[in-house]
Amino acid sequence: MTTTSHLPAGPRPRTGVLLLFLQVPLAAVVGGYLLDVVSLPVASFAVFVSSAAFPAWVSHRTAVSKDPSEPVHHLHRYAVLALGLVTVCTVAVAAASAVAGVGSSGLWRGLGAELSGEPSSGSWALLAGVVVCTLVATCTVTSAQVLFGGGLGVGGRRSPGWPTASATSSTRSSARLGHERATMGAPTAQGVVAVSTASRSPRTWGGGAETYS
C-alpha cells in the first residue's frame, strides 16, 4: 500500500472570504445574544449588510474563478444539503421535545424574543428563534463543507478537474456561449494530479490536496 500524504492546505483566501460570510449569522448570535456585546437586533445588522454583499461576492468569484473545485461553484449544493440536514435535526429535536420532553424550546424562544421584541411565550418569538437557529446551523454546516469538502461524507467532495454536474454544465455552457467563465473548466496542474488519484481512489477530499488509499 502506498500512501500519498500531503498535509491539507489551509483555506485559500477566496475560500476564507466565503467562510467569513458564512460565519456572520453565528457571529451575530454570539455577539448579540451569548456575549451581549450589543443587542441582538443591532447585531443582526451584520447579517443584513452581508446579505447585500454575499451574492455579489459569489457572483464575482464564480465569474473570475478558474478553479472548478472552488467551493463557491458548489455553494448551492452545500447549502441545500446543509439545510436538509439541519431541518431533519430540527424536526427531530422538536419531536423529542414534544414526545419525550427531552430538550426544550428555551433557546429558540429566548433568541426569538430578543430579536423580535415579542413575548418569549408567543409564537412569533418561537418562529424568529427557529429561523435564526436554522440559519446559523445551516451556515455552519455549509462552512464545514466549504472547509473540509462538500457532501459531508455522502459522495465526498469532487476533486479539482473531476467535473461535477454543475461544473460540467458550466464548462459546457461556457464553451458554447463564449462566456466569461470559458476557462473555468480548464484543469489546473493540481487538478490533473487529483484526477489521476481520484480515478484510483474513491475517497478524495480536501480539494484534492490530500489523498489516501
Binding site: 443591532v42 445588522f45 447585500a52 451574492p55 455553494l75 448551492h76
Partner: protein, 429 residues
C-alpha cells in the same frame, strides 16, 4: 463561436403548429423568466419585503426583518445554482457583481438631490431613517442608534430597489429606468409613505414633488453609472480615474455626512429645546364638576384633572404627544376655608400613540389624548359632606409630580393649581 452563441431569434410559426403549443410555450417562457429574473428579484428585494411585511401588519415589524435572514443564504445559493445551470449569458445571475457595483449609487443620489430640498422645503430626509431604525432595533427615535440603524436599513432598501432595476430589465436604458424609478417606485413611495409609514406628518405637495424629483435623478443615475464604469472608465487615464473615484466617494458619502452632521449639530439640540418648550406649556386643569358618593361614614368625591395640551411638533415636523410617567396627584377640597376632603390620584403612565400604527388614525387619536383626564379621588367625613352647600363651588387645591417624556428629553416636572368645582350630583349610600 458556435451557432448556439447567437441570440435566440424568434422562430417563424409553422402552419402546422398546434394551437396548444402556443400557451405551452408562453408558460415555458414565464417559468423561464421566473427562474432567471423573478426569483432573484424577490430574493434581492428582501429588505423591502421585510419593511412591507411589517407595514402591512402581516407580522410584527421586527419579525418582518427575518425575511432578510431567510434571503441571506438563499440568494447566494440561488446565484451559484443559476450560474451553474443557466445557458443564457444575459441572465442577471452572471452579472450580479457588476449590478451590485452599479446599484451602490442610485439610492445615494436619491438622497443627494434631497439636500437642496432640505433648504427649500425644510424636508428632513433622514427622519424616516429613524423610523426604520426604531422599527428594526427598537431603539428610540431621535438618538444615534436609531439613526445609524435606520440609515443602514434605508441603504439596504435603496440598494435592493436599485438591484431590482438591473435584474428586472434586460435593457438598462433611460426609458426603462424612468418606468421603473420615476413611474413605478415613485408611485409606490407616494402611496406607502403617507398611507403606511408617516405617522404624525401631513405630507403635502412638497413631499410629492421631492418624491418624483429624487426618483427622477435615481433613474438617471441608474443609467449613467453603467455607462461611466463600462464605457468611460476604460478610456480614462490614471489622473482622471483618481478624480472619478474621488467624485464617486464624495457623492456616496454626502447624504450620510450631511444627515449625521445636521443631526449632531442641529437636530438633537433643537429637538430638546422644542420638548422643553412643550414641557413648559403643558398644564393641569381641574374639571368643573365633582361627584360625591357616601358609603358608611365616608364621603368620596370623584373628579378629573385634565392634563394637556400634550401635542408638540418635532424637528422633522411630526406631531407627537408628550408622555407622562409616575404621575402622582395630591390635594384637598375646601369650602369656605374648611377642608372637606383629602385627595389623591396616580397613573403609572398616560396613554400614548405608540400602538397607533395607521397614519390615518393617528391624528384622531392624537386629538383624543391631547388633553388626558387623570382621575382623582377625595375622601372626607360624612359630617363634612353634610355641611356642603351645593350652590357654592368647592375649592380644589392640587399638586402633581410626574416625569415628562419627549422624543429625546425626560425630566421631572411639578404642576399645581387651584380651581373651583361644583358638586353636581350626590349619591346616597
Amino acid at each position: 463561436m458556435s451557432v448556439q452563441t447567437l441570440p435566440e431569434a424568434p422562430s417563424p410559426r409553422l402552419e402546422s403548429e398546434p394551437a396548444t403549443a402556443r400557451p405551452a410555450r408562453r408558460g415555458a417562457g414565464l417559468s423561464r423568466w421566473v427562474a432567471e429574473r423573478g426569483i432573484l428579484f424577490l430574493l434581492l428585494l428582501s429588505p423591502v419585503g421585510a419593511l412591507f411585511l411589517g407595514l402591512l401588519r402581516v407580522v410584527p415589524t421586527r419579525v418582518g426583518y427575518l425575511a432578510i435572514m431567510l434571503a441571506f443564504l438563499a440568494t447566494p445559493a440561488w446565484v451559484a445554482w443559476r450560474r451553474s445551470a443557466s445557458t443564457d449569458p444575459t441572465e442577471p445571475a452572471f452579472h450580479l457583481h457588476r449590478y451590485a457595483l452599479y446599484a451602490l449609487f442610485p439610492y445615494v443620489v436619491f438622497s443627494v438631490v434631497r439636500i437642496p430640498m432640505f433648504y427649500l422645503f425644510d424636508a428632513v430626509y433622514w427622519a424616516p431613517w429613524q423610523t426604520f431604525g426604531f422599527g428594526s432595533t427598537g431603539n428610540p427615535v431621535g438618538f444615534w442608534p436609531s439613526l445609524i440603524a435606520g440609515a443602514t436599513c434605508y441603504s439596504l432598501q435603496g440598494f435592493s430597489l436599485s438591484m431590482g432595476f438591473f435584474v428586472l430589465f434586460k435593457r438598462h436604458n433611460l426609458l426603462n429606468a424612468l418606468l421603473y424609478y420615476f413611474v413605478f417606485i415613485s408611485s409606490l413611495y407616494a402611496f406607502v409613505f403617507p398611507v403606511l409609514l408617516l405617522r404624525g406628518s401631513k405630507p403635502g405637495l412638497p413631499f410629492q414633488f421631492i418624491n418624483y424629483w429624487a426618483h427622477f435623478w435615481m433613474a438617471l443615475t441608474a443609467v449613467a453609472v453603467p455607462v461611466l464604469l463600462r464605457r468611460i472608465w476604460p478610456t480614462l487615464r490614471a489622473g482622471a480615474r483618481s478624480l472619478t473615484v474621488a467624485g464617486l466617494v464624495v457623492v456616496w458619502v454626502a447624504p450620510y455626512a450631511f444627515a449625521f452632521a445636521q443631526a449632531h449639530l442641529w437636530q438633537f439640540g433643537t429637538q430638546a429645546r422644542l420638548e422643553r418648550g412643550a414641557f413648559q406649556t403643558v398644564g393641569l386643569q381641574a374639571g368643573s364638576t365633582a361627584t360625591l358618593a357616601v358609603a358608611g361614614d365616608q364621603a368620596r368625591y370623584s373628579l378629573d384633572l385634565v392634563f394637556g395640551p400634550r401635542e408638540y411638533v418635532t424637528y422633522s415636523h411630526a406631531h407627537k404627544v408628550l408622555g407622562a410617567e409616575d404621575v402622582s396627584v395630591s390635594g384637598s377640597l375646601l369650602q369656605g376655608g374648611n377642608r372637606v376632603a383629602l385627595c389623591s390620584g396616580a397613573a403609572r403612565s398616560l396613554p400614548g400613540l405608540a400602538k397607533v400604527r395607521d397614519p390615518e388614525k393617528y391624528f384622531p387619536a392624537l386629538e383624543r389624548i391631547n388633553h388626558t383626564a387623570i382621575a382623582v379621588s377625595c375622601t372626607g367625613s360624612t359630617e363634612a359632606a353634610d355641611g356642603i352647600d351645593p350652590a357654592t363651588p368647592l375649592t380644589f387645591e392640587y399638586a402633581a409630580d410626574m416625569t415628562l417624556t419627549g422624543e429625546r428629553t425626560t425630566a421631572p416636572h411639578q404642576l399645581s393649581g387651584v380651581a373651583e368645582t361644583m358638586l353636581t350630583r350626590s349619591i346616597g349610600g
